[in-house]
């Protein structure tokens, strides 16, 4: 039943929950309204107007969105770890923490290595979360071309394409993003144990 609750969170289309949560944290939204009403704060908390706060809020909400997926994968993997490993560890006198560190963790990291890598690349290009939550605001004068403090390269690219029609810069940014992502991907993929020590785990 607990798993169904989290799967339910995945089932609701992401853009709806993101749009709603963006309004939840707004200056006149529910959270600020409640805190003001209870007298805990004097002024609305600057979730979206202060650059540092905005970044932390976006990371938090992104984590909130991503945990159910990871949980599904993790439970699937945990159920497949052979239990005789645990039995022999217990017989040898390992405590709970040691078992976790030496058996569970390496196994999990081995199996989810590729997924973590794809997730990293995916988040570099995660347009939906940034755009729907904060549209890249707060805008900042320190950055060129209408970029905001929470803009990713990808949302900046979108703004340049749609509002400024600055196709030249947009194309350059796209190519740079590709170079970085592809480079990191190829480098890390060949280094993670999933590929190097494939035999050890079979």
């Amino acid at each position: 039943m607990w798993r169904t609750v989290l799967v339910f969170t995945i089932a609701v289309p992401q853009f709806i929950s993101l749009l709603y949560v963006s309004k939840l944290f707004a200056a006149d939204g529910l959270i600020n309204g409640l805190l003001l009403r209870w007298g805990w704060i004097r002024q609305p908390l600057p979730f979206w107007t202060n650059p540092a706060w905005a970044r932390i809020t976006i990371i938090g909400i992104n984590v909130w969105v991503g945990i159910p997926y990871m949980m599904l994968i993790a439970t699937g993997i945990l159920m497949n770890i052979p239990s005789d490993l645990y039995e022999s560890a217990r017989i040898d006198g390992a405590g709970a923490f040691q078992t976790w560190r030496k058996i569970t963790l390496p196994y999990m990291l081995f199996v989810t290595g590729p997924y973590l890598l794809t997730s990293f690349t995916g988040n570099i290009n995660n347009f939906n979360v940034i755009f729907l939550l904060s549209q890249g605001r707060p805008l900042s004068l320190e950055m060129a071309g209408n970029a905001g403090s929470t803009d990713l390269l990808i949302t900046w690219l979108y703004k340049m394409t749609v509002t400024d029609s600055n196709y030249k810069l947009a194309a350059v940014i796209g190519i740079l993003v590709f170079v970085v992502c592809a480079g990191v991907n190829l480098l890390v993929y060949n280094l993670i144990p999933s590929v190097k020590n494939e035999e050890d785990f079979q």
Binding site: F15, Y20, A26, L30, P68, I73, Y158, A171
Partner: protein
């Protein structure tokens, strides 16, 4: 008949130690906390959609005035227009056929053992289901075009989702089967090229695709076919999970079928596909769910032309316009209406989804 007593040693009951009970209490508290944290925004969304007193945001959770007027707003321009059902002979024929399909389908759902339709082949049942859906779609017509935005967007998104699901599955399964079973010159090269091309952010192609679609007339007013074309044409690149699955099916199966004289198509349809049912359903589900959340391409292809938006773009405009104060509760109502069928479908097929992503994560 003598009563059988269960053997005394099967059930071993051990009273939980205090330590175990403590741990259990902590674990359950944590689980409840996590569930609340994850479900809270969704519950709040549902509650806000019933609020009657003001359209914007407020500082309290429970509505003071419970009303359905937000939902009524979404359906405002539509009328149950009966005339259009028999307006032309073809419309009348379509209505009769789909009504017949819906009636037969409801009989099928009764599933009594002596029902005459218990033995209907399942393909016919699927056809009847489609007829029933088509009939339901026909019923709601938009008479006042300027007021039924949400229904138009919903309809667009539904059409895109259905076509994408069907065509994408066709493409992905074909590509995966071909790459898994057949060896031809350039196969490795193509797989590597697709891998590298997949690392480009998709937005780079947005501008080029827009101009391409414009020459074909598939933008703005023709946004729906344009979006379907974009999604389907590049869907073959997502073959990894399906191919991994096909790779686990032994070749010997194929070969013995060929020795018995089956054609490739026969092997694919009759042997491989039934075995790959989980992955096939996962692909269909993914293809169906993707258009509901697609903001970028939908907003660009249907630029400025409101009737061509899909639900994501429309709701985003509602929430972020300058007068969003009036539209917030309507956005919540729209969100609930969008989430309901998608969530229901997802929960019905969640087994396949879980299988799909664990397979994808394990095989990379």
């Amino acid at each position: 008949m003598e009563k059988r007593k269960p053997p005394a040693s099967t059930a071993v009951f051990r009273s939980k130690s205090r330590h175990e009970r403590h741990v259990n209490a902590w674990v359950y508290t944590l689980l409840t906390g996590i569930s609340i944290l994850w479900l809270l925004p969704l519950v709040l969304l549902l509650l806000q959609s019933f609020r009657g007193e003001s359209g914007g945001q407020v500082a309290y959770v429970l509505p003071r005035q419970w009303t359905l007027k937000n939902y009524a707003f979404l359906f405002e321009g539509a009328r149950w227009s009966i005339q259009r059902l028999y307006h032309t002979p073809s419309a009348l024929l379509m209505t009769l056929l789909s009504a017949l399909g819906a009636a037969l389908l409801s009989l099928w759902f009764l599933k009594k053992p002596f029902s005459p339709f218990a033995q209907t082949p399942s393909r016919l049942k699927h056809l009847l289901l489609l007829c029933a859906l088509w009939f339901l779609l026909q019923l709601v017509r938009c008479l006042d075009v300027s007021r039924c935005d949400f229904l138009q967007w919903y309809r667009n998104t539904l059409i895109i989702a259905i076509f994408c699901a069907a065509l994408q599955t066709l493409m992905v399964l074909s590509v995966a089967y071909t790459l898994s079973r057949m060896r031809f010159r350039g196969r490795r090269l193509m797989m590597n090229a697709v891998l590298v091309l997949g690392m480009f952010p998709g937005f780079l192609t947005m501008i080029v695709l827009y101009y391409l679609l414009k020459t074909l007339g598939l933008t703005q007013a023709g946004a729906v076919p344009g979006l379907i074309l974009i999604s389907v044409a590049s869907s073959g690149m997502g073959y990894y999970i399906a191919k991994g699955f096909f790779d686990t099916i032994p070749r010997a199966l194929d070969e013995s079928a060929r020795m018995d004289g089956a054609t490739r198509l026969n092997i694919f349809l009759k042997i491989i596909l039934p075995m790959a049912k989980p992955i096939a359903i996962y692909t269909v589900l993914m293809g169906f769910l993707a258009p509901w959340g697609d903001y970028v391409f939908a907003s660009y292809v249907a630029f400025g032309h409101k009737a061509g938006y899909n639900v994501a773009v429309g709701l985003y405009r509602w929430v972020n316009t300058s007068d969003y104060q009036g539209y917030f509760t309507r956005f919540c109502a729209g969100g609930v209406l969008v989430a309901l069928p998608v969530t229901a479908l997802f929960m019905w097929l969640q087994k396949y989804y879980v299988e799909g992503i664990t397979a994808g994560a394990v095989k990379g």
